[in-house]
């Protein structure tokens, strides 16, 4: 039985924002008597993570993913509920806690902007009290894995977004955190770079048995990395489980991609296709029960050049999941 490294019980978090009426009058009014509005960023969420688990957080913008990560790393205070990470209350900011976690956020930087990443690594060596020999080994390995040999001595501001992200990751991992929070680590990166970072995260999780919490807009990231996903919607957890479970919900549906030689005539088509007609490519989401009749009809049409049947892509699954929530 593995121990829980992260436990969250009935966590709620509210933000206060100033509401301002438009125009000069509104500005003056809000200056004298600001009107605050409370936004419920997290509403009574609970979950726990075991050692070595890699969990993906999914949710639309503003759903509360980043807020959750910030509370878990002690950067924000919860309004209600209980949070423990590695047995500690994160907000107390015990050094023994801080030195075992890391937080990487795609667009925020812990590297010094004007200086080469190397300087930050040296600093982290001292802050986390990593012995020189160990430090050298780890740094060399990380540099090699992420292929940044030539970059770490250039000023950070000269690096591209992807290069910088890799250097940030190194800074975050030199002390080998047991718990790692990654918020959109692949944002703004090209596909090749995304893949590289993904592989790297997977490797770190496997080798170090670290607990990793990951958020990403790229479903590919999550599909490939996370064994378990937690979907947050409007501050609440609406799904928590393995990928298969959510896929099964929608396994009754298939995606049929059709390539056409010529346009299909409306009159020739079965009723349910008519509104979906497109040229030269069509995408149809079809129930399994309708699949047979559709296929036999398609095979008789000379306009069809090619067709493929697939499971629903993950984006579509998530989209439908949200839609279902709304209804």
């Amino acid at each position: 039985m593995k121990k829980d490294w992260v436990t969250v019980k009935n966590l709620s978090k509210y933000y206060r924002v100033i509401r301002k009426e438009p125009g000069l009058k509104g500005t003056l009014k809000s200056f004298w008597k600001p009107r605050y509005e409370v936004i419920k960023a997290l509403r009574n969420i609970s979950f726990s993570l075991k050692a070595g688990e890699l969990v993906g957080f999914i949710g639309p913008n503003g759903a509360g993913k980043t807020t959750t990560l910030k509370i878990l790393s002690g950067l924000l205070y919860p309004d209600q509920g209980e949070v423990r990470v590695l047995g500690k209350i994160p907000q107390q900011r015990h050094f023994s806690f801080l030195s075992q976690i890391s937080f990487v956020m795609g667009q925020k930087k812990q590297l010094w902007w004007n200086l080469p990443p190397w300087e930050t690594y040296q600093l982290n060596k001292i802050v986390y009290q990593i012995p020189e020999k160990v430090f050298k080994q780890r740094l060399e390995k990380l540099i090699h894995l992420l292929e940044v040999e030539d970059l770490i001595h250039l000023p950070t501001k000269r690096l591209s977004l992807g290069q910088r992200m890799k250097c940030e990751l190194i800074a975050a991992l030199l002390h080998q955190p047991k718990v790692l929070f990654l918020d959109e680590p692949t944002i703004g990166l090209d596909v090749v770079m995304q893949k590289k970072i993904r592989d790297f995260i997977k490797e770190y999780n496997r080798e170090k048995k670290a607990t990793i919490v990951l958020t990403s807009h790229y479903m590919r990231d999550l599909e490939e990395l996370a064994q378990r996903i937690i979907i947050i919607h409007q501050g609440q957890i609406v799904f928590d489980g393995p990928w298969e479970k959510i896929r099964n919900y929608y396994s009754q549906q298939k995606l049929v991609k059709i390539r056409l030689r010529r346009q299909l005539e409306k009159a020739d088509c079965p009723q349910f296709i008519v509104p979906l007609l497109q040229y030269p490519e069509m995408k149809l989401f079809i129930n399994r029960s309708q699949l047979n009749s559709l296929l036999s009809w398609l095979s008789s049409r000379p306009e069809v050049e090619d067709l493929a049947i697939k499971d629903l892509p993950i984006e579509e699954i998530i989209r439908r999941f949200y839609n279902q929530l709304r209804n």
């Binding site: 002690g74 950067l75 023994s96 801080l98 956020m105 925020k108 930087k109 812990q110 004007n114 300087e119």
Partner: protein, 279 residues
């Protein structure tokens, strides 16, 4: 007992190594060339020159003014100019924008270190750079006035002077830190920085003139603030015009104590506020 002492020593050693590294980083970070830098130095030289010539012209008939001989007044100007770099030199002003742009979270809060110590060490980089430019500037002024400056001979005087300066450095740091914490609450941080950092701090600490040329009511009011103990009294002590330096030390210690409590409190509250608005 022995063990805790040992671990304490180790902790101190680690923090000193950390301080050295932070100092070097801040030094490199500040030395990235900025045109601003040059203007600032020019401004300082003009300021020193004009204030020197102003006093020289006032001393033309050879008699003492406000209880200062010409020699002592020039010494005051020169030492205050130097001390301004050492005592008031700071990088902690940058804390306010750091809070505002969220860098505080990812660069400072996430690491297992004492954040006040981090900024204190960075302050020394700013002081070093100031001093690096100030030394030739002050030498230049001293050269113009023909090195007619007044220096004490007693070693004890210098020792006490160093203690005073060190305490002033600590208070200045705490004060700047407190001002910068306004970044947690206020959108614009230049206003408090300007009011406290320049107007109050520089005038009331005696950068522009020795405070005892002011009417005595003014003096009394100003002496109730911590600022004159940063530059004015230390330099005055060096000139042999402070009979009880220990009371100055005591007053500084009290101010440091008060500032440390305020700082701790504001910091804790600031972090909570930061959190309430989504930092």
């Amino acid at each position: 007992m022995k063990r805790t002492a040992l671990s304490l020593l180790k902790q101190i050693k680690n923090n000193l190594i950390l301080g050295q590294r932070l100092y070097l980083i801040a030094l490199q970070d500040s030395f990235i060339f900025r045109l601003n830098f040059l203007f600032l130095r020019l401004r300082n030289i003009f300021f020193l020159l004009s204030i020197t010539f102003l006093w020289l012209s006032l001393y033309q008939d050879g008699s003492d003014l406000f209880g200062y001989s010409k020699e002592k007044m020039l010494t005051y100007i020169i030492f205050v100019a130097l001390l301004k770099g050492i005592v008031l030199g700071t990088k902690t002003n940058d804390l306010a924008p750091t809070i505002k742009n969220g860098e505080l979270t990812f660069r400072y809060l996430i690491r297992p270190w004492n954040i006040a110590w981090v900024w204190f060490c960075q302050d020394w980089a700013a002081k070093s750079i100031d001093l690096f430019f100030l030394l030739p500037e002050v030498f230049f002024i001293a050269f113009i006035v023909g090195f007619s400056i007044w220096l004490p001979h007693s070693l004890l005087t210098w020792l006490i002077f160093i203690i005073l300066v060190f305490l002033a450095v600590i208070f200045n740091f705490l004060f700047r830190f407190i001002i910068s914490l306004s970044g947690f609450w206020w959108e614009e941080v230049w206003a408090p920085n300007w009011l406290f950092g320049i107007v109050l701090l520089e005038i009331f600490s005696g950068v522009f003139f020795p405070l005892d040329i002011l009417p005595s009511l003014w003096q009394k009011v100003i002496y109730w603030t911590p600022f004159p103990y940063l530059l004015f009294f230390p330099v005055k002590f060096l000139l042999g015009q402070v009979s009880s330096p220990y009371s100055v030390i005591l007053i500084l210690l009290i101010w440091i104590f008060l500032a440390a409590i305020v700082m701790q409190n504001l910091w804790r509250r600031g972090l909570k506020t930061y959190s309430a608005f989504g930092g």
